[in-house]
């Protein structure tokens, strides 16, 4: 608790003095340029009684409704005349559907319609972000356990479920591929028939969907220069998001032939476009309402059942409601499992000579955003290090498993697990300390970690995080018996392109309404917009309302992902506030007959030759006796870069250093985490408590995939631990005895006041730190996650067997 207090203290005492105040719209070619522009920008002026909310831990916007139960999540919303949807699924992962007989179900009480592929347009409408491969409902085949074959709409949920059980499906189970070995075998069953793939697709006769290759230097010849070479294979399990709100969707047909789609999505505008395209409706006739997601973590980015519900709503003319069970949620979202073969060379001093990675991501039955997870995750696969020779070859491999999608960390934790473990493998070979080998290889600000024409460099002083984590865990203090310590680092690219827009209305009484399309799924986005608007317009927090989650009234925002919102939407909101100030200045000059160039504006103020005027007073004078309001528009846009492997440079990088001290029960393999330190390079903490929340939450989520989480399949591809009983996530009792997070603030980010996105960093290298700590405590190295007691014990036994034989 004391650590948290000291962190907050640090944050609040430094921000007011230091925060930069430009936050220009993101329209430059490179994020680096933005940070430079920010550093030279104007600084905030202390203006007497003007309250500063940015940089302080103001209470969460909408918090009161969340503690009283008033907050309406999707399943809490009521609609008149609602019909209920139940899905028909099969107890198989891979099958050809030969017949769907719906007649018996259709005549059951309350049933309005039963829909299967036969009832949809042909060819089957398909959707997807990178590949339009996902059918609205299973089209002649089931590709993964839980894929819906038919849907029933009835007056009550009980009736819909009863009728769903009466739908008869005849099917032939077919051979599927459920892991990387099966999926990449020469004679593997193919998830997608080659005829369904482009003729010029070189991988069409395999399960490989896409590949990526990042290469600089010459790995082959560099190997000869290395003093030590370590080669190992690492695996990262399939894990599922397990949002506490399982999710669902409600679709209402409107009288003008359009649709209202209610869904707790992260990307309402993507959903709007998807529905409009599939149903051949103008965007203006598809209105998406996005109630706040009850946890999303990437799993609620892309459309899933919304297209099906849209067809059902149009067919029945009724509001159709589908609320998923947690089990169904497991079957709609997961993180790609990954296998990384890594070969790494070091000099005798422990400096990296080369690093070679082959990363195979097991992405599942449909593409979703998995190809980008693969390309983006392995782009930083070599880590934030100075490596002259790198070769990273990655593949997105399809399988008959739940389609994988975005998940906090987006493909980076998988490869970071391998790269960080390789650093430790090298350190062990060389007799170096884990901290020391990172000190020698971690780049400094401006140094490249990705070389070549699309060079990418460190946009922070990352050594500060490394040293701070080492200090907080007491790296130099004696290690208690039976324990081990590990330290690891990792980076993740933030968003690389895209548009965020905001409108802010400054009303006649000094209150304001900000329209900002970011989905507030727990990160607290609305709180930040409230803080920014209050400071920039000089009004009270309680006078700022934020509107989001309605494509009918809120302007376009690309998406809520990649920890982009603080930077992109934050800048848009800031820009909108400044637009208001400029408009006030202009109209004030007009109304008072003064010259515009004698006036200037500042946060909350119009500065006149007679002195500063509070903005509200200036706006009243400007508007005159009939009053009115000012509307500001803000835009943050970052252009992509042609040819760039990610489509553009990242606006910022999340950098994290995690250090863990663990005790291992050698008889049982159980881990007891004594200390868990997470230090992130955050730019500026706009709301320190919210930063702490994100870092603690990500740390614990990282412990989930490091210690206990994994989707287990049987040999036919059925999920064996489908549901909360046997899929284990961390509980209160699994929190380390001491969990301390810290933010390094250099006010060097491209977001408002020098901020960066921060929501994913703390889980990027949890596994590496824990693995290294466990290795030190046990003397055995484990390269497969999660580090369950059984896996740790088994490794110990194998080591014992080897020493005794």
């Amino acid at each position: 608790m004391t650590e948290h207090a000291s962190r907050t203290e640090v944050s609040t005492t430094t921000i007011d003095d230091d925060r930069a105040m430009t936050g220009a719209p993101l329209d430059s070619d490179a994020a680096g340029a933005m940070a430079v522009a920010l550093a030279g920008g104007e600084r905030t002026t202390g203006d007497g009684d003007q309250a500063h909310h940015v940089g302080t831990s103001v209470l969460r916007y909408g918090g009161a409704d969340r503690v009283t139960g008033k907050q309406k999540f999707l399943s809490d919303l009521t609609f008149p005349d609602t019909a209920h949807v139940a899905l028909v699924t099969l107890p198989v992962a891979c099958a050809t559907i030969t017949d769907v007989r719906t007649a018996a179900a259709a005549v059951m009480p309350g049933v309005l319609t039963v829909m299967s592929a036969a009832d949809l347009p042909q060819p089957m409408p398909r959707f997807g972000v990178s590949h339009q491969d996902r059918p609205v409902i299973a089209d002649g085949q089931v590709r993964f356990h839980g894929e819906a074959v038919a849907a029933v709409v009835a007056e009550t949920l009980d009736q819909a479920e009863a009728a769903a059980r009466a739908v008869e499906v005849s099917y032939e189970e077919t051979d599927g591929v459920f892991d990387l070995d099966q999926a990449t075998a020469p004679d593997a069953a193919l998830v997608v028939d080659p005829s369904a793939r482009p003729a010029d697709d070189e991988h069409r006769e395999s399960n490989i969907l896409e590949t990526a290759l990042y290469e600089w230097g010459d790995v082959a010849t560099a190997a000869a220069q290395a003093h030590v070479v370590v080669e190992n294979t690492y695996t990262f399990p399939m894990v599922t998001h397990f949002p506490i709100e399982p999710g669902g969707t409600v679709v209402t047909p409107t009288e003008d032939g359009g649709l209202e789609v209610h869904s707790p999505v992260q990307h309402p505008y993507l959903l709007q476009r998807t529905i409009a395209t599939l149903l051949e409706l103008p965007l203006a006739k598809v209105r998406v309402f996005a109630p706040d997601p009850g946890g999303a973590f990437g799993g609620k980015q892309t459309p899933k059942f919304e297209p099906l519900l849209a067809f059902l709503a149009l067919k029945t003319g009724r509001t159709c409601r589908l609320v998923l069970s947690l089990e169904q949620t497991f079957q709609t979202m997961r993180r790609a499992g990954c296998r990384v073969v890594a070969r790494t060379g070091f000099t005798a001093d422990g400096c990296l000579v080369f690093h070679e990675l082959e990363c195979d991501y097991l992405i599942g039955a449909y593409a979703d955003v998995a190809p980008r997870v693969m390309t983006k995750g392995s782009y930083v696969g070599a880590g934030p290090y100075r490596i002259p020779h790198v070769r990273t070859a990655s593949r997105a491999v399809m399988s008959n498993t739940t389609p994988s999608t975005a998940f906090r960390g987006f493909g980076c934790p998988q490869v970071a697990w391998a790269t960080e473990s390789q650093l430790d493998a090298g350190a062990r070979e060389l007799g170096l300390d884990s901290l020391e080998i990172r000190r020698r290889n971690l780049i400094h600000r401006g140094e490249a970690f990705f070389r070549g024409p699309y060079e990418a460099t460190a946009d922070g002083d990352w050594h500060q995080s490394l040293e701070k984590a080492a200090e907080l865990i007491g790296w130099d203090t004696p290690l208690p018996a039976g324990r081990g310590r590990g330290i690891a680092v990792a980076i993740k690219p933030g968003a690389t392109s895209g548009l965020s827009q905001s409108l802010v209305r400054f009303l006649a009484d000094g209150s304001a309404i900000a329209y900002a399309g970011t989905s507030d799924m727990g990160q607290g986005a609305r709180t930040l917009w409230q803080q920014i608007v209050a400071d920039e317009l000089g009004t009270g927090l309680d006078k700022v309302t934020v509107v989001s989650g309605d494509t009918g009234v809120v302007p376009f925002d690309l998406q809520t992902s990649a920890s982009r919102s603080t930077v992109f939407m934050g800048n848009a909101v800031l820009d909108a506030c400044r637009d208001i100030r400029r408009r006030i200045l202009s109209l004030y000059a007009d109304s008072t007959g003064s010259e515009e160039d004698t006036l200037s504006e500042a946060p909350g103020l119009l500065v006149t030759p007679e002195g500063p005027l509070p903005l509200l007073e200036a706006s009243r004078i400007a508007l005159g006796s009939l009053g009115g309001e000012f509307v500001g528009q803000g835009i943050a846009r970052m252009r992509g870069r042609k040819g760039h492997p990610l489509g553009g440079d990242a606006a910022f990088y999340e950098f994290n250093c995690t250090a863990i001290e663990v005790e291992v029960d050698l008889d049982t393999g159980e881990l007891l985490l004594h200390k868990h330190i997470s230090v992130s390079d955050v730019g500026t903490e706009l709301n320190p408590t919210q930063v702490v929340s994100q870092d603690e939450g990500a740390s614990i989520m990282g412990l989930g995939h490091s210690q206990m989480e994994q989707l287990l399949l049987d040999d036919r591809g059925l999920i064996r631990n489908l549901g909360a009983l046997d899929y284990r996530i961390p509980t209160f009792k699994d929190v380390p005895i001491e969990l301390v997070t810290h933010g390094i603030e250099n006010h060097d980010g491209p977001g408002p006041y020098g901020s960066k996105g921060i929501s994913e960093g703390a889980l990027l290298c949890t596994a590496g730190a824990l693995g290294a700590a466990a290795s030190q405590a046990t003397g055995v190295v484990i390269r497969d996650l999660p580090l369950t007691p059984e896996r740790v014990w088994t490794a110990l036994q194998q080591a014992l067997d080897q020493t005794t034989t």
């Binding site: 909408g62 503690v67 009480p109 009863a162 709100e245 009850g294 408590t689």
Partner: protein
């Protein structure tokens, strides 16, 4: 490969509606009367018949705690209790906790906000009710006791440390008032 047939047992698709059970109970201080089919859980009855949607549904099998309510003062998972069983009982949901205060928030609910314990908020009603139950039985719990007492309430945003802080903060507030 042999063709298989997926239809589940025909018996499940019974067309005869279940007979209803009458339930009379006190919910958040008010009398409530409603009829339920026998299989309906208390969680669903609260949410869909009494419109008390603060009680949340996640796992629906007692593993997550999102549906925690007090029945006769005892913290239970309302997903694992039939609504029919609630006949004659006194139930407090999250909506009933701050009723007597001007702000509409109990000291515990305020502490959740002040401690930064709320992220997405979906688990929070269950957390608040579970914490209230914990504090009624143990007014000054240790960190270990809080972790034990709350371990049936999952938070995927993992605000666990903030929630522990909120419970401790409330305990301090209450001890000052005594």
């Amino acid at each position: 490969m042999t063709t298989q047939d997926s239809r589940h047992s025909v018996r499940n698709a019974a067309v005869v509606p279940d007979e209803l059970n009458e339930v009379e109970c006190t919910v958040n201080g008010a009398r409530a009367r409603f009829s339920v089919p026998p299989h309906r859980t208390l969680m669903d009855a609260l949410r869909y018949q009494l419109d008390l949607t603060g009680t949340k549904t996640c796992c629906a099998e007692g593993e997550c705690g999102a549906c925690t309510v007090l029945v006769d003062g005892v913290g239970v998972n309302s997903c694992l209790m039939l609504a029919a069983e609630a006949d004659g009982s006194t139930i407090t949901t999250v909506e009933g906790l701050g009723l007597d205060t001007p702000s509409g928030l109990s000291d515990l609910q305020e502490s959740f906000l002040e401690a930064g314990a709320v992220q997405c908020g979906f688990c929070i009603p269950g957390q608040v009710v579970a914490a209230e139950y914990l504090l009624r039985g143990n007014p000054s719990p240790t960190v270990e006791e809080i972790r034990e007492g709350m371990s049936g309430n999952l938070c995927r945003c993992a605000g666990y440390q903030r929630i522990v802080a909120a419970v401790q903060m409330t305990a301090r507030k209450r001890s000052h008032h005594d």
